[in-house]
């Protein structure tokens, strides 16, 4: 069965109308969702206040389990943030134009995941009130942070990534903000007037816009890879068996893209359903996303197995024991569930019937993300359970405080996202128009020929740009 990614003959006015409509008049369901998210966030806030006052004890962290869910969830959210980069930057560079209707919310996801992830290293500090000490500010005592620490690398990388991805999101949104400006009234108009930075669709603006968008996409890809490599360095740079693994950087990057893609599927389906975006977020696009997810899932599965195999084949007993402990130790049930969710479940994506069935895909995408969250937990914890020092072997189960904060982080993300969809266009209007425009031209032979004739010297196909497959 083949259908088009998008109806090329859709009226541009309808595009504006549909998207702008989605930003207005929140319904009851929206407020219920907001309330639920606020409730979740308040759980986390209460837990954090308690932890702030009492100490890290009630979270059940202990010797040797100095890290647990906080760091695992941190890695999870950082991973989630890679979706936007993948969909937006990579697909932009390779010219896959089907990204256009869905990249906006993916990029928003990137930014909000980072805003969520960034909280965790702060929450997990024993002395939160001194967190600014990790910043490289000039102190009159000549004290700097320790640039050797992967945690400082994290701080640098996350700052860079957050800045860049937020800018990428914002710049990509400027033409749309101008549309909003032109159609809004009241406070919204004021807001969009400021945010659209005086965009008026000049050819000059478009020209530079195209360049900056491309350049930022180029920077964002290596940046995203470096960010998750650095996050993996928190583990890989340590000396601990089960953490000190050479293949961790690509493994983490693959895992990040994986969970990001899965989350895109989830949000895709939610947005499509609630905002009636059936004409933009079409089944063929979902299918493409699913295929992409499946490919990444297979990469991840391969890297997982490679990690096991290389540890198994090596002769480092401590690492080998750490590996065996994952399969058989106290956390083994979670490990097996992780393997199922991460390796077996994605095969559901391989079947067209399932790919086209939204409820199935919704559940499946959630399963994949549960698997990816478990993966992070299963990286952090089993190593702490058993490492070099037998006297310090210990099994620990996270306390209510940790669970509350992890739970709340989903609410926090949800809240940010809910605010986003009502304030900003969650589908890129101008790019959908581009997509429609180019497809109409290139898919109709007559138009294309006519167009080419009008072009002067060079072959237009050589032009870098948004025209695509």
């Amino acid at each position: 069965m083949h259908t088009k990614d998008i109806n090329e003959n859709i009226a541009w006015a309808k595009i504006n109308e549909d998207v702008l409509r989605s930003m207005e008049n929140p319904r009851v369901g929206y407020w219920v969702a907001v309330a639920a998210c606020i409730l979740m966030v308040s759980c986390a806030v209460l837990a954090e206040i308690y932890q702030y006052q009492v100490g890290m004890g009630p979270s059940n962290l202990n010797w040797p389990h100095m890290w647990d869910l906080y760091i695992a969830t941190f890695v999870f959210w950082i991973g989630m943030s890679h979706s936007g980069t993948l969909l937006s930057a990579i697909l932009h560079i390779i010219g896959a134009d089907w990204r256009k209707p869905i990249y906006r919310f993916a990029e928003a996801m990137t930014t909000f995941s980072l805003l969520t992830a960034g909280l965790f290293p702060i929450i997990h500090l024993g002395r939160v009130w001194n967190m600014y000490w990790v910043l490289p500010y000039v102190s009159d005592r000549g004290i700097w942070p320790n640039f050797r620490s992967p945690l400082i690398w994290d701080a640098f990388a996350i700052t860079t990534y957050l800045t860049s991805s937020a800018m990428f999101l914002f710049i990509g949104m400027i033409p749309d903000l101008a549309i909003c400006r032109d159609n809004a009234r009241g406070w919204r108009q004021k807001l969009y007037t400021v945010l659209s930075l005086g965009w008026q669709g000049d050819d000059r603006q478009w020209r530079h816009f195209r360049r900056i968008y491309l350049l930022m996409a180029c920077f964002l890809i290596p940046l995203a890879v470096s960010v998750h490599s650095i996050v993996s360095a928190d583990f890989a740079m340590s000396i601990m068996p089960g953490w000190h693994i050479t293949s961790f950087p690509p493994y983490f990057v693959a895992g990040a893209l994986y969970s990001g893609c899965a989350a895109i599927i989830t949000l895709f389906i939610i947005l499509r359903y609630f905002f009636r975006f059936e004409e933009y977020m079409t089944i063929p696009i979902l299918e493409k996303t699913c295929k992409l997810t499946f490919a990444i899932a297979m990469v991840w599965s391969y890297l997982t197995l490679v990690e096991f195999a290389s540890v198994w084949y090596g002769h480092d007993m401590a690492s080998k024991e750490a590996l065996i402990a994952r399969f058989t130790g106290a956390y083994a049930p979670f490990f097996w569930v992780m393997l199922f969710c991460g390796i077996v479940a994605p095969f559901g994506l391989a079947f067209e019937r399932m790919r086209r069935h939204l409820p199935t895909m919704f559940v499946l995408s959630l399963i994949l993300n549960v698997g990816m969250w478990l993966e992070r937990w299963m990286i952090v914890t089993p190593t702490l359970e058993s490492s070099y020092y037998p006297f310090a072997f210990d099994t620990m189960w996270p306390g209510i405080v940790q669970w509350a904060i992890v739970f709340g982080s989903f609410g926090w993300f949800g809240l940010l996202f809910l605010i986003f969809v009502k304030v900003f266009p969650s589908v890129s209007m101008y790019e959908v128009k581009e997509m429609v425009f180019h497809r109409r031209h290139y898919h109709s032979e007559e138009q294309a020929v006519k167009f080419h004739r009008r072009a002067t010297d060079r072959q237009l196909t050589d032009q870098p740009g948004t025209e695509g497959a």
Partner: protein, 283 residues
């Protein structure tokens, strides 16, 4: 923060531990622990509690692994594959291992601290700066010996009810919640010893500084001393056992290959400053 400084001293700043490092050490404090003499009596551990204001956290928290035993006396039973046997009883008794911070010269805990709260002093100590610590706990995670302990709670009110708090050693602080702590080689005693020597106008001598654990050990199994002072008992013990600071594989000569001196998990190249001498059993 000057570029000139960087350029002029470039090669100096690029020296790693293997090349002697940038710092000149004034002392290199070490321990030599003879497991042939150690009886596992725990006196050292309690002495450490007394000297270093270690919190007693109580049954629940200690059971949860939130205790503060800077010096822990480990007890291991022989394994069949390690020369033990499958006999009905532990005929060769137990192996005891008093484990305190190993003050590694290439400490894995140091580079991972985001705020440089743990560093190497010119005395060769792996120091923990409580004031600077923000509690990321990475150091403890990256310590292969698991010798760093975290203040999961503020223990001051619960651990030292009046008048127990009067016993607290005023020479060192009581750590508050959110701070990592660990054995300091009784740095306050080192300070006192140095001050004493300085006021007497002389160099520090072997024996001027003794850690609490070494002092209380009934069998004198723990010997504390300065490796840079060749006349110190500890340095002599290291030399006698042909154990050197620096290499991760000791170059023992043919006769020395039977010597008992070793450092725990030496192959990880952490270069610990604590030498152990193996347990001895008749058969």
């Amino acid at each position: 923060m000057s570029l000139k400084n960087v350029l002029e001293n470039w090669s100096d700043y690029r020296k790693t531990h293997e090349q002697g490092g940038h710092h000149e050490y004034e002392h290199m404090w070490t321990l030599a622990i003879d497991l042939n003499k150690c009886t596992g009596c725990n006196a050292c551990s309690v002495a450490c509690y007394a000297e270093n204001n270690l919190a007693t956290v109580g049954k629940e928290k200690l059971h949860k692994g939130q205790g503060m035993h800077w010096l822990r006396m480990e007890r291991y039973w022989d394994e069949p594959q390690m020369g033990g046997d499958d006999a009905e009883y532990h005929e060769r008794g137990a192996s005891f291992l008093p484990m305190m911070c190993q003050h590694c010269n290439a400490a894995t805990c140091e580079p991972v601290c985001p705020v440089a709260a743990t560093y190497h002093t010119p005395d060769g100590l792996n120091a923990q700066v409580y004031n600077r610590c923000i509690g990321s706990r990475y150091c403890s995670n990256n310590c292969p010996y698991r010798l760093r302990y975290f203040n999961f709670y503020s223990y001051y009110d619960t651990s030292w009810p009046e008048p127990l708090n009067q016993q607290l050693n005023p020479d060192i602080s009581v750590r508050d919640k959110g701070v990592m702590e660990k054995c300091t080689f009784c740095v306050q005693r080192i300070r006192t010893g140095k001050d004493q020597a300085a006021s007497e106008g002389r160099e520090l001598r072997d024996g001027d500084v003794v850690t609490a654990c070494a002092q209380s050990c009934p069998t004198q199994a723990i010997v504390f001393g300065d490796m840079l002072d060749e006349e110190s008992e500890a340095a002599k013990l290291w030399a006698k056992q042909q154990v050197e600071l620096g290499p991760y594989e000791q170059k023992k000569d043919k006769e020395g290959s039977e010597l008992r001196g070793y450092r725990v998990l030496e192959a990880l190249n952490t270069d610990p400053c604590v030498m152990y001498l193996d347990r001895v059993r008749e058969a």
